[in-house]
């Protein structure tokens, strides 16, 4: 521990004038006076230890703040890229941009074709098509009326050949497709519509 020169004590106690001190001791006396003034100005109830800890807490940041500071601070990055990969990446991006966003065109088998069902049922709540292609089971091929104009549509992939079918309206009414132009007796006293599906890759 450094000892304070007795002349500094004397000067601080007013026993000798401050000017009687050599310049070095005068600066020591001024620093001591300044420290005493600081201590005297400290709020009541807070010790020196409290103030030191408070100062330390002010400097200690939370992990989130440290991470935020790391993220926002500039860091040097070195990127080593081969030109050939850069070109391939650019070409892939261009290809992705050229492809349409959504394509639901199905991949058809050799003996498959597309059947388009269109029926006008204004006011209907649901329309579906049932036939030999789905074992006459309801709930498998619904028609849609997206714009609410009463015209219901469905596009379905079916095996090529002839299929018998009917529409089921509102889950209860069985109706032939009058636009089919082809009908066959169903042996139950009604007629089924007949659809001819041409293979797309035929």
């Amino acid at each position: 521990m450094n000892s304070i020169d007795p002349r500094v004590h004397q000067a601080l106690d007013g026993e000798i004038p401050r000017e009687a001190l050599p310049p070095a001791l005068r600066r020591v006396a001024e620093r001591l006076e300044s420290a005493a003034a600081l201590l005297a100005a400290a709020p009541e109830g807070r010790s020196v230890a409290d103030r030191v800890l408070a100062r330390l807490h002010r400097h200690a940041h939370s992990p989130v703040r440290r991470l935020a500071r790391w993220l926002t601070a500039p860091h040097p990055v070195t990127l080593r890229i081969r030109p050939v990969w850069s070109l391939a990446l650019a070409a892939s991006l261009v290809l992705l941009m050229l492809l349409p966003e959504e394509r639901s065109t199905p991949v058809l088998g050799e003996h498959e074709g597309i059947a388009q069902f269109v029926a006008r049922f204004p006011g209907a709540h649901s329309v579906q098509v049932v036939g030999s292609f789905n074992d006459w089971r309801t709930g498998t091929i619904p028609l849609e009326d997206r714009d609410g104009d009463g015209v219901w549509r469905a596009v379905v992939v079916l095996p090529a050949g002839a299929h018998e079918y009917m529409f089921v309206v509102d889950d209860e009414r069985w109706v032939p497709d009058y636009s089919a132009n082809r009908f066959v007796e169903d042996d139950f006293g009604r007629e089924n519509s007949v659809l001819i599906v041409r293979p797309v890759k035929g």
Partner: protein
């Protein structure tokens, strides 16, 4: 021979079980044993069974009474027997394949006169006639002359068209007619162009469903 007999003994009950499981819950219980026995009989005769099962399922879906379902399945079985007899008359060696029997039966149901079917069978002794008969039946359904329709399709086969492309022939005739030509003009025009008939267009973009034979059981609506 012993292996074949063993396989037949094992396969027949399995097929029967499969038919029953397809019918249960979808066809009135009272109709199932009779339909099942008719299906077994068809199988034993070498006839296709799927048209019979399909007819029973159709009746069940339409909530038809059991007696009517059984009657319709019996009618279908008779039609299949007649179709096979016609195939044999047309020159096929018995027994005709189940697929050919089903095809001919379907063509007869759709109104093709038996002599025309016999003529097609005779003209195509070594080829599947399914698409040819579908194409002719399609033209006949639009009230075209059956003999002229058969002649055109047979000409298309001689020009090299096969399979599903024969359906493009009947489609081309119907398109010519829609353009305002007479039937005779439409026939002549398509015949002149053979084998160049427009193929079916590729599917466009949009929502396309795929028909599946579902396995789950659902309640069928009641027809009026």
């Amino acid at each position: 021979m012993r292996v074949a007999l063993l396989l037949a003994c094992v396969a027949a009950p399995l097929a029967g079980q499969s038919v029953r499981s397809r019918l249960e819950g979808r066809v009135p219980a009272a109709a199932i044993p009779v339909v099942d026995s008719l299906v077994q009989a068809a199988g034993r005769e070498g006839l296709p069974t799927e048209p019979l099962v399909g007819k029973a399922l159709e009746g069940g879906a339409k909530h038809v009474v059991p007696a009517l379902i059984v009657s319709a399945v019996e009618t279908r079985l008779d039609q299949l027997r007649s179709a096979r007899a016609l195939l044999v008359r047309g020159g096929d060696a018995p027994p005709a394949t189940p697929a050919e029997v089903a095809t001919v039966s379907g063509a007869l149901r759709r109104g093709l006169p038996p002599p025309v079917v016999e003529r097609v069978v005779g003209a195509l002794p070594n080829e599947p006639r399914e698409s040819a008969l579908h194409a002719i039946a399609d033209l006949v359904a639009h009230r075209l002359d059956a003999d002229s329709s058969a002649s055109l399709v047979i000409d298309a086969i001689h020009a090299g068209l096969r399979g599903g492309r024969l359906l493009d022939v009947s489609h081309a005739v119907l398109e010519e007619q829609q353009r305002g030509r007479t039937w005779a003009e439409s026939f002549a025009r398509v015949r002149d162009e053979l084998p160049d008939v427009p193929p079916a267009p590729k599917p466009g973009e949009g929502t396309v469903q795929r028909a599946r034979r579902p396995s789950s059981v659902s309640k069928a609506p009641t027809p009026p």
